[in-house]
Point group: none
């Protein structure tokens, strides 16, 4: 059997899990439900994923991969440093809003469950920060600034972006506020935020 075929069920399980996660929230998704949705047996899922946590963690990994890859291609595509930073910010927000099921499990799993998430997987997570750091560094221009400052700036920007995505997703933004305008303001202010 070809590898692609061998893993086809694995793929379908992950897709179903992701879909259900979005539809019903993490605590309302059971292995049974995923199996029903995929059209396979409960036991079949355990062939591909040792347990539920590992299944969830696979999704988290996928999520980070997608986010980082999209950020990396923007980094490669946009030459002007300021525009690049803006594009990275817009992309981050859009990723969060368009993939809420990924974003949810990537950033809203409680500490207990995250503790079981293998540490080396975090490295990929951090690469998003690095992309932003590099953009800031190039804006601040010279490389004469100490290394820690663009990285701190990146954290500030990340905080703004992450907070915004979360508040929008959880419907905490006041109805009087225009969402598109809010996002664009955040993107513009993110650039200022880098100048510390």
């Amino acid at each position: 059997m070809a590898i692609s075929q061998k893993n086809e069920l694995r793929r379908r399980i992950l897709d179903a899990a992701r879909k259900l996660l979005l539809e019903r929230g993490i605590s309302q998704v059971s292995i049974r439900m995923i199996a029903t949705d995929v059209g396979c047996s409960v036991g079949a899922i355990y062939t591909y994923f040792e347990n539920k946590d590992i299944l969830i963690h696979s999704l988290i990994e996928e999520g980070f991969e997608r986010l980082v890859n999209s950020q990396l291609s923007i980094e490669a595509a946009v030459l002007d440093p300021v525009e690049r930073l803006k594009a990275l910010c817009r992309n981050y927000i859009h990723f969060g809003l368009k993939n809420p099921e990924y974003y949810e499990i990537m950033f809203h799993l409680n500490a207990e469950r995250m503790a079981r998430y293998p540490v080396e997987k975090y490295r990929k997570a951090r690469r998003n920060l690095e992309v932003i750091s590099r953009a800031i560094k190039e804006i601040s221009g010279l490389g004469t600034v100490s290394v820690s400052e663009p990285f701190l700036g990146a954290h500030l920007i990340w905080s703004l972006l992450h907070g915004l995505v979360t508040l929008i997703q959880f419907e905490r933004i006041d109805r009087k506020i225009d969402q598109a305008a809010l996002i664009e303001s955040a993107v513009i202010q993110a650039v200022n935020l880098s100048a510390i």
Copy 2:
């Protein structure tokens, strides 16, 4: 029986729920566990709270009350507008970091569960934004600016603060970053954020 004694169990239930919520995440806390922790029967909890949702919502309410009250006393105490805004930001961050169990349920409940949260309770939640708005308005000085702008600025600031609290709480900040410095940078940048 004195009132304080009469409601002592109610208080202990709320405290235990809050503690367990922090320790184990919202979906992992059961009425049984709370009862065991408090040392009462399951049924006793239903004497004070009609159902689990109402118990959780009581906690949310308490959380908003504490946050808003602390913000209001800062608003009353700090006269200089810029310093006041900074103090409000610091206080917000500290509230989140010192009361992670409140913060978690106040802001990390999914939309489905929030839908069941009575609408009139949201008004108190929004007062935090209003306090920040007022500070921004006073900074921008004159009142000549259109009403919607300070409110939008307040949302930007809130995004930054909320994102920062969440990332710190979920231990996503890189170990190389000094947390106190990051917080102080955020506070300073929040003031700039208001000038849109």
Copy 3:
């Protein structure tokens, strides 16, 4: 306090229980619900009724009293024996259909629960059979027939009436059958049933 006042709450409890019994079925009525409906405390009910069974049994007793009393007044009022028997049958059916909550607990409680119903209370229940027996005896006229036969006829009539009431109450009668015609046929046939 006058007796009538003293027992007013008792009366209201019985009425509420009867109402709820009809509305929701016996297994869905709880002491709590009765208390809420009456507007008294749970404990207050235990002042008047040792436990739930005794409360139910009081209702059963009341039911038999009402049924037997109405039969006795018909016996006294209708002189012609055949007409009297018909009137008794009609009255039995109407009692069952108009007081389904009484009829339900009088005749549909399972054996286990009935076992706890004090035996001497059954004597009142049997008086309905006696009234019918007397009517039959008078129809058969002479008193020369052995005593057991009218009593057996009374049991046959009772079976017909009881079966009819139950089937109507449980909605087992075919829609094509006219209910009033069915009842009147039963009444007429009951008279024939007595001639064994």
Copy 4:
């Protein structure tokens, strides 16, 4: 695994449920109890029955199948119309007395629970009435009588039989009455009942 073995647990669950239903009444039988009685886990029951209602309804269905099948074989076996009607009546009574647990759930479920019983299942239930109707029609002979009358007669007979079964089962028959004689009288009178 052979089919008979595969469904052995299902069978044992139904049997235990039937037994417990008789012993304790419908509202006093829990899934837990059935599981304990069978010696399996609670969850195992849900492998075979989606929920408690469906388990109960399976039992009801079985009951009607048994009753109707036994009536149909009598219809086929007894040629003389009057004797056939008598045999059908005897068989109905004996079915009720020998399978009180089936009879109880077939005819003593309250309307609320029956509402949840799928409508198409009622068709089988009605076939008992049809068998009796056919016997009456043949007795009345000619087919010149309007169709509705044998059906009404069947309802009268059913009322008598059902009432008798119920009163015997609930031990409401006076001790002085000979049960076999009562039943035989009912059977004889049933034939008269059909002549309306």
